[in-house]
Symmetry: C2
DNA sequence: TTGAAAGCGCTAACAA
DNA sequence: TTGTTAGCGCTTTCAA
């Protein structure tokens, strides 16, 4: 198992260069030589040393993915898409779980600088656009999922946040709701801005007054949604429906309602975002928005690898994949 | 950004070797020189080239993890444990999602042979013990989670399947059940054998006859649990409780019961395994077994890295972490 | 179509 | 305490 390319060369009666050519599908090798080499490779169970190859070729065939928390299914599904697309192209994926810490994400970005990875995909709201642009300008290849960056090179794949949020809130309005609360995620993340924008648009189109007292946020977490709901209950402003920027926070809404004896959907209609698997099993099943998580992962991984191989010189760098509203019992209740 | 170690050396007025020493915390460098070097490194934004380092040192500081499906929370939580433990020791983690295909797993095992990773952790039932032993004998470092391998070197971390399964079934018996079905996972996986063993033990200790007609299996998947339940319903053998080898399959039981109008827990008590997050939200909440997934990941990653660094010559190589039963409403109903 | 030789960027043995 | 030198195992000119 510790054979080197020269050992194979010796056994096959050729030079190391020839073995290398065979192994890298060079066309300049005669069929006969090729067979000899392949036979030797087989017999010796030879495996080219990855580091040597990487050093010489200056590419690692590896990409990194930074996520805040791999356990959250939103992220693991994206990762799966990335991994599957990478595998099909002989690329490996290094997983970088930041535990929601910017510092850890910055450290992982260093894998670009020391050439551990050929490219990096960020699925996190913490690293700023400027930092990503900096890396891009230094010549590194990177892409983001879930947001877009104002740049000509950096790849991005996101979903139509504004439209589906508008659709979700419009749906609530059609059910007869006029006081609709919004629980956002991180208040400075692009997802959050856009989902709120959709919320506002739906209100505007239906001439429903915007009430700041109905806006709160919960950091995309169950506990955050729970606390936000309790705060909303404390306030004077009544509301009959709530739109949360993701399903996790909607679970928090459910918990708060259970504790306070608020019935869903009779007293309060709820709509989330993600179509987290859990949402189909809870009672009542949660209306939500199906996001193409796996597909976004595949899309960005493919484009990134293309970019690493100069395969998309003239192509676009921003992709949007559509999400769609799924109405379930948590909001399927016509208000008079 | 394309500086090499000699460039730094030049700037600092020392040799490349000295820079290397400083960067690798060698003690043989004077404080003054060290500061000079560090300053140059800083000013030039120098990052050692990973591949060169790897080639020279013959280690990649990377480990691989093979899982059947990263989306399943059982696996993503283990991965998180591995990743976090690895990060703390400056190791990276390459994720290998096999989509339940043995062939893909075999290919990923090749990352050991070509030295892309220093070690590999398998969290999958598909690769046989013999294959793992083969790799180990070739000198590669690997470990498994969820099963144990009869070997002196290969690391393993699992949980006490027999005991907690016995406890789960005993709990059902204490609730007054005498006809208890068992839905297993892959019929040849060690988890499955051991969980079934616990099931049998509980029956034996309580002189409850074993009925083959109450045994079925569902490949650890929701759909499998659903189908197994339907098959059990078809048979003549009546039963009032079911123990499933994981929570996913219990979800399938729920679905089958909903369709057939079988009430949980009044008509059928259900107990699963995993404490999948979902189980606390469904109705009725599912009794299950809390498995230390994250901890198993941490444990094995730490031991594996220790082994890579010859830090555990005399230590054990098999670890068992305890799981415990969580009784919720799905089985909390005393039968007369 | 093949081989010889140089070198990717780093570390470590040896010498000073 | 520091520098010199020799590779780690591969790919890729260049020459034949």
């Amino acid at each position: 198992m510790d054979n080197k390319i020269v050992d194979v060369a010796k056994r096959a009666g050729v030079s190391a260069a020839t073995v290398s050519r065979v192994l890298n599908d060079s066309s300049l090798v005669s069929e006969k030589t090729k067979q000899k080499v392949l036979k030797a490779v087989e017999e010796m169970d030879y495996h080219p040393h990855a580091a040597a190859k990487q050093l010489r070729s200056q590419r690692t065939m590896t990409i990194g993915v930074i996520v805040p928390d791999i356990i959250v299914s939103y992220f693991s599904e994206i990762i799966k898409g990335i991994e599957n697309a990478a595998y099909a192209r002989k690329y490996k994926v290094i997983i970088c779980d930041s535990d929601n810490e910017l510092e850890k994400e910055m450290e992982y970005l260093g894998l670009l600088s020391n050439r551990t990875v050929d490219g990096m995909i960020l699925v996190t709201p913490f690293v700023s656009d400027d930092i990503i642009k900096d890396y891009s300008q230094k010549g590194y290849t990177l892409g983001v999922i879930g947001r877009a960056i104002d740049d000509e090179v950096i790849l991005s794949c996101k979903t139509n946040n504004v439209q589906f949020s508008e659709a979700a809130v419009r749906h609530l309005i059609e059910q007869g709701h006029k006081q609709i609360a919004y629980i956002g995620g991180f208040s400075d993340s692009m997802e959050n801005y856009e989902r709120m924008e959709g919320y506002l648009k739906a209100l505007k189109d239906n001439r429903i007054p915007f009430k700041p007292g109905l806006i709160d946020s919960g950091h995309f977490m169950e506990s955050g949604g729970y606390e936000a709901t309790l705060r909303l209950f404390e306030r004077q402003e009544p509301f009959t429906a709530v739109f949360t920027a993701n399903d996790e926070m909607a679970l928090g809404v459910y918990r708060a309602c259970r504790e306070r004896g608020v019935r869903i959907p009779e007293d309060l209609a709820v709509v989330g975002v993600d179509n987290n698997r859990i949402t189909g099993y809870i009672v009542p099943p949660l209306s939500t928005v199906e996001q193409p998580k796996y597909e976004m992962g595949v899309c960005l991984a493919e484009k990134l690898i293309d970019q690493l191989n100069d395969l998309n010189a003239s192509e676009q760098n921003k992709y949007v994949i559509e999400s769609r509203l799924i109405v379930r019992d948590s909001s399927n209740y016509l208000r008079n």
